[in-house]
Subunit: 273 residues, 2 copies
């Protein structure tokens, strides 16, 4: 195969050890041990190179390098690799032209002052749902996403992929609910929760700042948390069919909740998106 | 292994030919040829047995049979099978206790009269997105979902799974946009479309009935269709970051659109969910 930059015949390989390391990052314990996470896909890797995250190793085809020259210089180590080699290391079904190993950052701290709107995820398990919620938070201009310690890890490769680069812009903080509730109280932020039965989201008088709890895909908000939530909301079903739909997917609920709350916040703060 | 019903020792097998048939239903051409589609998962199969669809063959473990006795009688042919056999035939990563082969119904016709709200999907490709949109339509009490002929097939097993049983309650009609637009005009139904740039959904004066077009995941609404749409809406991003998020997932956009329109429809028709 032809080396595009120098014209020398070389095979641009990724070492077996690196492949093993990359594959291991599918698991949280190895991400923790190595303090690394994996980003794949040309667009996503370009985003992470542009972000505040440190990219320790970038594996990319000569084509990717040529197309993203100024950006690739931001990686601490750059390794040219054949597309076939990227494929060997990739966790994706349809691998692209690059892979980036990125340094985990120390967890963000709770902001001293809070205005606006944020979500608390109580045990969301599906990586696709979590990634989509991160993307939604980003769309609606939030800075933070709060999660219970048993929520899926935002640095899991599947979450990263589903977030479409939004993980670079949202600070995700894992925190037990009681600690966050205390912080919310100090910040005069009312805590809402979404339930199958509650006041209709469309009838409720939504405040100019709020924290909204969303529950796990199967069991909803756990009872210890639910018991302490004063404002119980639901997204009403308009179905007249019997039997009708049982529930709405949590990522969709999050999108509708964000839409309604951010609208309320922006109206009350006199700003518009 | 023990036969739970009769106490006789038998191995409850699924024939190789049936397994081949079941696997083939992952592909549209075989669904069309056999006029069958596949439903998996205990809850989903129970829903389809309860619906207007004809279940021609039900493969289930003795446990499923015992737990759903009155329902299983609705299948035209019932085959007991070991969990191991179900696993061999299944298209799921985590197979459950049953599989149902169901008869495709002739396509639904456009309703002569239309009130309320419906979506038109212009080339949605991802089965997960389509299934989730079907579920959303169900939640918001719609009867119909309109799709361009090149939208993913609602009877694909992945769409069926993502719809969580809602495919039983929503009539999905595949139709070229110009035919639907003509029908909408006859029904005095204004046609809206969602775009990256358009009037903010939150500022628009939404009508008591409407058809809303949502575009393909990558390219949005195709230009031939877009050119004929008078009311161009967008879900504004509230992000202040540069670069910010590029787009919102189409299933989430659909949920927010449905939420806003169904609210408007129900307020103007004086009913509430």
């Amino acid at each position: 195969m032809k080396h595009l930059l120098s014209g020398i015949q070389t095979i641009l390989m990724i070492s077996k050890n690196k492949i093993k390391l990359i594959k291991s990052l599918a698991q949280k314990k190895f991400r923790q041990r190595e303090q690394l996470f994996l980003v794949e896909g040309d667009k996503m890797v370009a985003e992470v190179l542009n972000s505040g995250f440190r990219v320790t190793d970038l594996f990319a085809t000569p084509e990717f390098l040529n197309a993203h020259k100024p950006l690739t210089g931001r990686a601490e180590n750059f390794h040219e690799a054949e597309a076939e080699e990227i494929k060997k290391a990739s966790l994706l079904k349809t691998p692209q032209n690059c892979l980036a190993l990125c340094r985990l950052q120390p967890p963000a701290e709770l902001p001293a002052h809070f205005s606006g709107f944020a979500l608390y995820l109580d045990g969301i398990q599906d990586p696709g749902n979590l990634g989509t919620i991160v993307r939604t938070c980003d769309w609606f201009g939030m800075d933070y996403l709060f999660c219970s310690p048993d929520t899926a890890d935002v640095f899991s490769p599947k979450v990263i992929q589903a977030s479409m680069g939004s993980f670079c812009r949202i600070k995700t903080i894992y925190i037990p609910f009681n600690e966050l509730a205390e912080w919310a109280e100090q910040n005069q932020t009312p805590v809402y929760g979404t339930f199958l039965k509650g006041e209709s989201l469309y009838d409720a008088n939504l405040p100019g700042k709020a924290l909204v709890v969303l529950g796990n895909e199967g069991r909803g908000i756990r009872s210890e948390v639910a018991n302490t939530i004063r404002f119980k909301l639901s997204i009403p079903s308009f179905s007249k069919k019997k039997p009708g739909p049982e529930s709405l997917n949590v990522a969709l609920s999050a999108a509708i909740i964000c839409s309604e709350f951010v609208k309320a916040v922006s109206i009350q703060n006199g700003s518009k998106g």
